[in-house]
Each structure stands twice: as structure tokens, then as C-alpha cells.
Amino acid sequence: MSNDSVRIRSAIVEAAHSLDQAQAIGTQSPGFTYVPPTHARALDFEVTLVEGMRGAGKSFWWSRLASAEHRSFIHDGFPEAKLPEKLEIRQGFGTGASTAQYPDAEQLIDLVDEFRPRSIWRAVIANHAGFPGPVSKLSTWKQRVQWVQSNAEEYALELAAADARLEKSQSKLLVLFDALDRLADDWQHIRPLAKGLLQVALDMRSTRNIRCKVYVRPDMLEDEEIVSFPDFVKLNAAKASLRWQRADLYALLYQCLGNASKGAEEFKKLARDYVGNKTARSASSYWVLPTALRVDEELQERLFERVAGKAMGSSTKRGKPYTWLVNHLQDGREQVSPRSFFAALNTAANSASSDDELPITYRGIQRGVQDASTIRVDEIKEDYPWVTTLMSPLRGNLTVPCDFGDLASIWKREGTLLQLETSIRRQGSAAKLPPQHLEQGPSGVVIDLESLGMLNRLDGKRIQMPDVYRVAFGLGRRGGVKPLK
């Protein structure tokens, strides 16, 4: 086994671990940051709503944007993202920062019992905008929220003054919000807090130099109790999405490998075979991925062949690693999160043995995809507990592609939807996001499963489930060749 392979292998593991701890900013190297061309808009000061599925990088950006060192790397390596030079960035809610910046979930629960949610978020803004008046003397969140709620006019004046100060210094203030599902322990408290936050974020757009940026999961933006307020439509229409194309995932991988503490030189030596000595011009001490390796899939694939080989087995008839990996992680909306991608690579790198020539093997990739699938399924069960109710009667009883009727008859026989309705009714308003179209019966929940990317329709008709979910939920595949007994 070559020494280079071992070092590149350890670089993969390092990158996977670093990206897995999205919030822990202290130890993360700025060199592990990559901005896909389509994500530049999500960094735009003017874009208030940024939606992304779980693992798409919401918390990543929430923490990296708040770090001056990371911002300077983005300026340098990704000028096309047009990050404003003079920008003050603060964190308004998330997991991982201190309560000096914002009230945590514990405090929020007390605050929301006493005050209007909007007042809470206004107080957070007041704090970050450095209102100089009486509010600056107050030491607890409760006092600050109290002041904001009972001094609406002063608040408005102070906000305008803060906007003017920023204008004068030609600076801008951006307040970041993340982890909205952690605002409280139950949905009956999360919903009003989230709604209040979106309203305040919208209000800030009337200033010139203060903006909020709210990272949110797409399904929250479908929750009527969160988004039913005037002008949400405006906010929603201008949102940005953290979608990852295949080339973006590999670009992120390569960007990380080129800056790993171990193995970076060996990796860059491989990369030079495809892009020569030219790297993107960079003033920073970190390596910046050359443009060709960001967008040229053919080049990316040739480089990946050096990492993982050419074929998923003895012949490419069983697939090629570059495409196989992403294909098998895709959900029904053809989405793959960087978290799934790196989880699979992490397993692949860890399962390589000393006999393997290359950093990772196709068998490792196969194992990695299974691990990533398990993680993905656990996440979805955690986020949408009703999915478990719908899926468990199907285990061992359904093969896909199937007709809608096959699916519906199992649910009918098992009384699944009734069971689901009962459990949601029992939990009342504390229930976590129920399926939005439950009242339409089986065809309604199929729509909800489709929008989660768990199901899709073949040719607009038959129901298919992507492998990333199918295997874990115990569904079979309909095939013409039956196993020989």
C-alpha cells in the first residue's frame, strides 16, 4: 500500500469530521470552506431567507459567516460571492454561541410566556445594533424585551439612528439566525417564536443597512401557523436555496483535501496532473481550488478515479465511483446533502485496509452509502416522526415501483392513517409538523412523502422510492427475474 494513499485517506477522514461539526467554529480551518457558484446568492446581504434540507450547510454558514477569518478567506478565494467588505456579522440565534448574543431556548420559553415573540427578536436586534440609550444599561434579556415591548416609539427611533450610524460609517449589520427547530422543545412554542422572527426579519428590510438572514428548513416554510402573516410571500419569493449539485460536492471535497493538515500535498500532487501548477490566485495562506476542478465534471471524475478507482467492481458495467456515490445518496428530489456525502466517504476511508492500493475502494463506497443512508433515515424519523408510522406497516410487505393502490391498501388494512390522526390529535398543538395533506387521506400523505423526497413518481404514475430510503425501510424492488429457489 502506498504511503500517499494512507495520507489522502486521513485527509478524507479529517475533512468529514470537520464538516460534521458545523457549529464548532473554533477549531475549523477556513481552508475547508467552499462556496458553490449557486450559493453566492445565499451569502448576499439582501437575501433574508435561506432554505436548505438537513445537512445542506445552514449551520455551516451560520457559524462561518460570523468568523472574520473565514470571511476573509471567502473574499479571497471566492470573489464572485461578492461578500460586502465592511460587514458586521452577529448571531441572533443558533446552537453553540453564548447567551450574550441571544437568549437560549431555556430563556425563550420564559420570555414567550410573558412577551410577544416579536418583542423578543427586536430586543436581540437592539442588542446587536448597539442601541446607546437606556436599553444598553439593562443586563438581562427579560429587561431588554420588557423595554422593547413597552417603548415601541423609542425602539423605532433608536433603530433609525442605528441605521444612520451605519450609513455614515459605510458599514452594514447582518444578524444570522439558525436552528429554528431548537427555539423550544415543542412545536407549540416553536411556531410563534419562528413566526415572530420571520416578521422581524421582514421588518428589518425597511432599514438600509440592517438585515437578518434566517436559515430554515423548507418544510417550516410550509407550516401555515408559521408563515401566515402579511407579506410573507415577498420574503419567500426572494429566498435562496442551499442546493448541492454533484460538481459542488466534489469541489467541496477537493477544497478540503487540499487544505488538510495531513495528505494535502499528496492530494495536490494528484490534482496537478489535471490542472497543472496553476491554482486560483490567492493571497491567503490556504489553497484555493482551481476553477476547472470546481465545474468541470469530467476533470473531477478523472481525479476521483485516482482516489477511488474507475469502476464499482470488475467493470464499469456495475457503475463508476464518481457517479455511483452521488446517485445512490440521492433522494426523490435528486438532492444529496454534503453531510450524507461526507458520511459515506468517511466510512469508505475508515474501512480501507492496508492491502488497498487506493485511498478508498468501491466496497468501501458501498458500505459508506449504507451508513449514510442509515443516518439520513434517522434524521428524517427525528424530524418527521409521522414518517415512522407510515413506513412501518410497509416493511417486508411492499415492492416498488408499485401502484398507488398497493400502498393505500396496506395503510387501509393496518388502519395506519387513523392511527396517525389519533396520535396527532392526542398531542394537540405540541405535535411536531404533521403531514400537511393528511386530511386528504392516503393520496395526501403520498404528496407529503414526495415533497420530503422519500417517494417519487415514475413517468408521473407509478410510485418509486429511492434506494437511500428503500433499503432502510425494508421495501423490495419489483423485478422480472425472480430468485431461483
Binding site: A311, S315, T316, W324, T399, G476
Partner: protein, 452 residues
């Protein structure tokens, strides 16, 4: 009593066995003659089989109406060379759907050894043992159910693209019944002295080897490429007796190991040409439609078989017929399926993305319902690349047989003369790349890989 039709006869013959009290071994087999008439066969002497069981089978056999024969149940006593019959390679373990009973309840299916004596078409079920074979070039067969789907143009482009990449290309025209490839890629005056049809006739009288060196010509298409494109066309220079030769071309030819069938003979021809020309890749133009020549090309010659299709009922129904034929013999399906690759020919540019996705999903449904393995629910299939591993690629798997290679519709190529330079109305390399890029990339990768 209802008339028993072809399809019913096999079902009934299989179903009738189920009710009988028969010994475990030997298992009854079915022999279907060229008319479709059925007889049971037992690989043992009549005396070694219980007389009442034999009588019961005899009675069952006679209920098959027009598809019954007056003959007795076949045993080893029925033949002078029973070994030759019972070890015939054309016995296939065959799935027979037993249909539904009077109440409409499905009876399931039976799995029986069936020997189909067909007039033609046997070659669809004769995949070659590739392990025993010693050819080095990757062979790519171009097949279409119908003509006019741009198959020949695609073949020319592939030849040109591979030669440009420095591959030695040998092109063989097996479309004997509409010999046309050569006109597209070779001007008439540059045809070789002999064609494939000459070899088949001369081989019949034992002198095929003598025409081999004089049946390959260089294509002018290869004059601008790194390596030459060599062509073995269907017909030779100025042939005036083509039909008379064609009428004799498909005959079985005697050899010391018994008669050699068309499949074995073509196999020999391709191997001889490979030995003579030493190509990196062999491109074979197959006859269109469900003809024996195509059967040979796909099941016994191809390492990769490109199946040209358009998004129409005709394509889907035709391929379903062919795939179902393989599906009923699971061993054949397992051996053939991985070499197949569907090509979406003449893909319209309007509304491209939706069209492509629809085509891909239809192709997936066709392949999964006929040739891919059933993956039982609740069983975690372990990823495995051994030969008997479950084979059922995901619908989005771009390496899978069903995942279409796209060739865009471009009128420039409809009446295309590949010899023409761009300034004279020919296509430029960039235009060729735009329409045929996916196919070139695919074939190049296969050729690089060699023969698995």
C-alpha cells in the same frame, strides 16, 4: 371445448403435471417441436419409471388439442442417441405462468426444462461462454428494432470518434439483408473484393480462409484520424450474385464436431478477422428487427449491445417482446442483461429535459419488469459484485443498461455524408461532439476497459 392456442398449450402442459403423482426424479421435461406441439420427456429408460405415472403423463399430454401429438411420452428409449438429445445446450430452465383457475385465483408458475425446436430464433438464447473465448477486442453491436433511427450514422460517428482517439477500429457489416453501411462509410469503388456474404458461402465449402485477407478495406473516414478505420462490408466489389449468395449464407455447415450453426460460424468469422486485423474495438452493424442475425450479434458476439430506441410504443413493445423471451429463461436473462445498453436515438431538442426523464423512467420500467432481479421486501441486499449477486440498478443509476445514452436529433445528420468536410456541408468535430458526445464517451470507456 375451447380451442387450445399456442400460449395455452405450454401452460396447460405444465399445469397438468402439478396434479399428478410423479416420482421426484427424473423431473419431467417438455419438448416443443417446430409446430409448437408438446411432448413430455424423461431422462431415463421407460422401464425405470413407474408405469402408472407414465400412463398419467401420457393422458395429460393428449389433452392439448391441436398441440398434442400422437406420440408417446419421450424417454431415453425414444432416441438412438439419447445423450445428444438430453444434453442439447438448447434445454433451458423456463418459467411458465400457470394462469388463473375458474375463480380467477392465480396459480403461480412452474419451472421446467424446455427444449424449443424452432425454425429460427434459437440464437436469441445462445449466449457464448465468454470465459472460454480468446478475443481481445471489445465488440460493440449496434441494434435497432426498426431501420431509420440513425443507427448507421451513430456507428460511423463512433468509428470516427474512436479512431480519432487512437483506437484501431474494425467495422463489420452484418446487416446482410439491407447492405448499406458500406455505402455510407466506403465509396463503392473502394469496397474490398469480397464481403461477409462471400465468406459465409465460401466457408460452406471449406475455403472461408482464402477470402479473409481480401474482404477488408480502409475507410476514407479514417484518413483524418490517428488510426485507420477498417471495414468488412456485407458485399464485395461489383457483386452481381448477392441474392444467390445470401440465400445460402445462413445454412448450417458440416464440421468434424457436427453441423455448425450460423452463430458459431459468425463467431469464427469475427475471431478470424480480429486475428488478422488486430483491432482495439470491433463495431458490428446488426440487422434490424428480431432476426436470427441480430440474435447472434447480441447474444453471442457482443460485449456491449447498443439497443437503439425512440420513445414510441413500437420501440417499447418490441423490446418488451424480446426481453420477455429472455425473462422466461432466467439463466439467459442473467447472462445477457449486463451487456445491454439502451440508446435514445433522435432525441428531440424541444422540451428536452422532460422528454429525457420520461424516456429514462420508461426504460427503467421495461428493464426492471423483465430483466432485473426481484429484490424481496424486507431483505437487506448486500452490495456484492459476484456473478450471482442481485442485479437491480436504481432507476437513476447512469451506468445501468436502462439508462439511455442520448443522441440528439439534428437534421444535419439525417442525410449525412461523413466524408464531407465542414466547408462542403459536412459536420465539424464540434457538431459531431454535440450530437454524439455521450455515445463517444460511453464507447471510449468500454473500449478502454477491454474485455471483462
Amino acid at each position: 371445448m375451447t380451442v387450445i392456442r399456442f400460449n395455452d398449450a405450454l401452460r396447460q402442459a405444465a399445469h397438468a403435471l402439478q396434479g399428478l403423482n410423479l416420482p421426484e426424479q427424473p423431473k419431467p421435461r417438455l419438448l416443443r417441436d417446430v409446430y409448437g406441439r408438446l411432448r413430455y420427456a424423461l431422462d431415463c429408460a421407460a422401464a425405470d419409471y413407474p408405469a402408472d405415472a407414465l400412463a398419467a403423463m401420457q393422458a395429460a399430454q393428449s389433452t392439448l388439442g391441436a398441440y398434442a401429438t400422437s406420440g408417446e411420452v419421450l424417454t431415453r428409449d425414444s432416441f438412438s442417441f439419447p445423450d445428444r438429445v438430453f444434453s442439447d445446450p438448447d434445454w433451458h430452465l423456463t418459467r411458465i405462468d400457470l394462469g388463473a383457475d375458474e375463480d380467477g385465483v392465480h396459480r403461480g408458475e412452474a419451472l421446467l426444462q424446455v427444449l424449443d425446436r424452432q425454425v429460427t430464433g434459437q440464437d436469441w438464447l445462445r449466449p457464448v461462454q465468454s470465459a472460454a473465448e480468446q478475443h481481445r477486442a471489445h465488440r460493440i453491436v449496434f441494434f435497432g428494432l426498426k431501420g431509420g433511427v440513425g443507427r448507421s450514422t451513430a456507428l460511423c460517428m463512433t468509428a470516427w470518434g474512436l479512431a480519432r482517439k487512437g483506437k484501431r477500429v474494425l467495422l463489420i457489416d452484418l446487416d446482410l439483408e439491407s447492405p448499406g453501411l458500406s455505402a455510407l462509410i466506403l465509396p463503392r469503388d473502394r469496397l474490398a473484393e469480397f464481403g461477409v456474404v462471400d465468406w459465409l458461402v465460401e466457408d460452406g465449402v471449406g475455403q472461408g480462409d482464402s477470402v479473409l485477407p481480401r474482404m477488408v478495406a480502409a475507410s476514407p473516414l479514417g484518413e483524418s484520424t490517428v488510426n485507420a478505420i477498417r471495414v468488412a462490408s456485407a458485399t464485395g466489389q461489383g457483386d452481381s450474385a448477392y441474392l444467390a449468395k445470401l440465400a445460402r449464407a445462413y445454412a448450417d455447415v458440416p464440421s468434424e464436431h457436427g453441423p455448425q450453426r450460423l452463430g458459431q460460424r459468425l463467431q469464427r468469422l469475427v475471431q478470424s478477422l480480429e486475428a488478422q486485423e488486430q483491432p482495439d474495438v470491433v463495431l458490428i452493424d446488426s440487422r434490424a428487427g428480431l432476426h436470427d442475425l441480430a440474435a447472434v450479434a447480441i447474444t453471442s458476439l457482443a460485449d456491449t449491445a447498443l439497443l437503439f430506441a425512440t420513445d414510441g410504443a413500437q420501440s417499447w413493445d418490441g423490446y418488451r417482446q424480446l426481453f420477455s423471451h429472455w425473462q422466461q429463461r432466467p439463466e439467459i436473462a442473467r447472462r445477457v442483461r449486463e451487456r445491454l445498453n439502451i440508446v435514445r436515438a433522435l432525441a428531440p431538442k424541444s422540451n428536452r429535459e422532460a422528454g429525457v426523464q420520461r424516456f429514462q423512467q420508461r426504460a427503467y420500467e421495461l428493464f426492471s419488469e423483465t430483466l432485473y432481479d426481484e429484490v424481496p421486501a424486507g431483505i437487506e441486499p448486500l452490495h456484492d459484485d459476484s456473478a450471482d449477486a442481485i442485479f437491480h440498478p436504481a432507476d437513476t443509476d447512469d451506468a445501468a443498461p436502462h439508462f439511455p445514452i442520448l443522441i440528439d436529433w439534428d437534421e444535419r445528420f439525417q442525410e449525412f455524408d461523413p466524408k464531407l468536410r465542414p466547408e462542403d456541408g459536412g459536420a465539424s468535430p464540434a457538431q459531431i461532439e454535440a450530437a454524439f458526445g455521450a455515445l463517444l464517451k460511453f464507447t471510449e470507456a468500454r473500449v478502454e476497459e477491454g474485455v471483462a
